[in-house]
Chain length 352, copies 2
DNA sequence: TCCACTTAAGCAACGCTGTTGCCAAAGTGC
DNA sequence: GCACTTTGGCAACAGCGTTGCTTAAGTGGA
């Protein structure tokens, strides 16, 4: 909790590297970095010199002069390091390799059955990750693994995944780390997706990633940081009561959003499902004062405009101005999983 | 955003001072401070020497020896500084003076009518604060002012307070600061109360303060920090939809928690009101993975056990283990308001 | 073409941070 | 009484960002 001088140094270095990252291909000059960080230009020069010496940054041309020496443009070097992201879903495994900028370099997919138990499934994960790393791309930071909740991201252990009791308590993170010889970070699928979305250069400060697939969940990003909660339980949108004394749910409650929404989907009433989802989204927007809602998950992606329009309609009807968007696509969770290991490089989510 | 050496110094000093504060009367030794902060004992010695020189800390006895030189106990000096907290409610004004530890030193109360307009009401606030400070207690850090929402805590300006349109946009913070010659911080009543509760030494990391008075709102504390949102809108619990297509609400929605809950109160059905409130609280606990629910507000305090038991029952029925408590009492908001100016001294809520 | 001017960025000296190594102070217990 | 343990201050130190100055590299008017 206390900060000493080396900690200060690495904090500022991470801050500068993050600005280089978000500047992307465009790059950014030393003086802009100084303005954005509040540090003096001289300090930025020192920090960027170290980053260049480590191969993390490079000079890339000049800006137009404004009457004096033109600013030198600096850029991050994405190939300086790589990370693996794994999305372990109930029936499918997606593993991908990204560079330091989060761009997908390679991808592998195969069907799996979570019900087959931890041993065989982790065998499959190990195989796919080894295959990705067979052609060694350079320094690999680690592996991010995203699974359906509930789980404990600090211990790296799944909880009672609905329908897959044998996973509960299995030391997934440590076992995979031992097999691969790489650091592994475990998190909930929705949290991983939200993290990946949160670190896009254009991301708003606070938003919710609402995922409608085999279940209904959300990843919450508040003030730039994902909210996990002490028990990795945050984002349990599916079991919000939106119908007092409504139909019972397996969770013990009644009128849960997930039950109502998925029932509408099952009936084929997608606009009604979108309206129910919109009510849940509106509750989020109002309770947390967030800037944006991003929809994702298989059910949404099967009829994106129906859901986007439906949710948008509910928010507009309540006078809420938060825009509604769609999350990138099929691999949002796996890409976010890679960010679980990339993020610390940029000083994000220090405490996992 | 960047951190330089003086910033590091003040950060560590605030950190140490906060540990002294939470240690309270008991005090804490230099070595414990070193363990808790991660700093070396020598660094802690230097920092505490400065704090003692500034009069913020003092030595207070010794611990029992464990085989060597006994540890010297350090304590914060609460009388080193004071702060004013003002709770401006729809019909009542509470102003109090606290010391650096947040203990109430003096209190004044009078009826007001928010509808009388900003001018006369701010006159009354000015009078009461001046009266509190008539017998000057020492260094006064500033004034925290808590009002019903909506408002903009960054600009220090109320929004459209329901039923009191003339307050909208009035520069309350700046005007009061000019009148009193002291820094003023404005925040929503529920946020102030939550802040005060969050800074108690025994507070859990994440909790919700649920306030049921003339309206229904919540103050959310996540990971030790109050959540306000960019528009100070976070905590709008009252307009969470918990009854799809339920009775209409003035907000444009249907089945809002506030409408249902207050209707039950109006019918005299307090257990039913508690059950509805409990449903809202359960939604909070699940969505945000919080550790505790604290109930407050006039309606709750009029029948505390009914509401506490009712909410507790709903949570227990859903298998949620978060304990339900009652917020201290009538002046929770005013005491929290004082913390709006005290908190920065301890490195809390840097960004207001 | 020249030259004054502006802006960018590195070099060197500096102040200040927390750290390290050492030692005095103040207890315990054989 | 003495060996031992633990606390906490003193002094020297490495390393951070800052300050003052210099050099590099442009623009634009005479």
């Amino acid at each position: 909790m206390g900060v000493n001088v080396p900690a200060l140094r690495s904090h500022n270095a991470a801050l500068v590297l993050d600005l280089l990252r978000t500047a992307g291909e465009t790059g950014i000059s030393r003086l802009e970095l100084a303005e954005r960080t509040g540090l003096t230009p001289q300090a930025v020069s020192k920090i960027t010199a170290r980053l260049r010496a480590e191969g993390l940054a490079t000079e890339a041309g000049h800006r137009a002069s404004t009457g004096g020496k033109p600013r030198t443009v600096l850029r991050m070097v994405p190939s300086a390091a790589y990370a693996v992201g794994v999305h372990l879903d109930r029936d499918e495994l997606t593993a991908l390799l990204t560079d330091l900028a989060g761009a997908v370099v390679a991808l592998r997919r195969r069907p799996v059955d979570l019900g087959a138990g931890a041993g065989p499934v982790l065998d499959a994960v190990t195989e796919e990750v080894r295959a990705l790393l067979a052609d060694p791309p350079g320094s690999v930071l680690g592996v991010g693994l995203a699974m359906p909740g509930p789980l404990d991201h600090r211990a790296g252990v799944p909880g009672r995944v609905t329908g897959f009791p044998e996973w509960a308590g299995h030391p997934v993170r440590d076992e995979l780390a031992a097999r691969l010889g790489l650091p592994v970070v475990l998190d909930k699928d929705t949290n991983a997706a939200a993290l990946g979305l949160a670190l896009r250069p254009t991301a708003p400060g606070s938003f919710a990633y609402v995922h409608l697939g085999t279940g209904l969940g959300a990843g919450l990003v508040l003030g730039g940081a994902p909210l996990r909660g002490d028990r990795t339980g945050a984002g349990e949108l599916g079991h919000q009561t939106v119908q007092l004394d409504g139909p019972p749910c397996g969770c013990g409650g009644r009128g849960c959003l997930e039950v109502l929404c998925l029932a509408a989907v099952a009936r084929g009433e997608l606009p009604e499902a979108a309206r129910i989802l919109g009510t849940g989204a509106a509750n989020l927007v109002r309770l947390l004062d967030i800037d944006q809602v991003l929809l994702g998950g298989r059910v949404v992606l099967a009829a994106p405009s129906v859901f986007a329009e439906g949710v948008r309609g509910v928010l507009a009807g309540l006078g809420l101005s938060a825009p509604v968007g769609l999350a990138t696509g099929r691999d949002a969770v796996a890409e976010g999983a890679a960010w679980l290991t990339l993020a610390p490089v940029f000083g994000k989510q220090a405490e996992l």
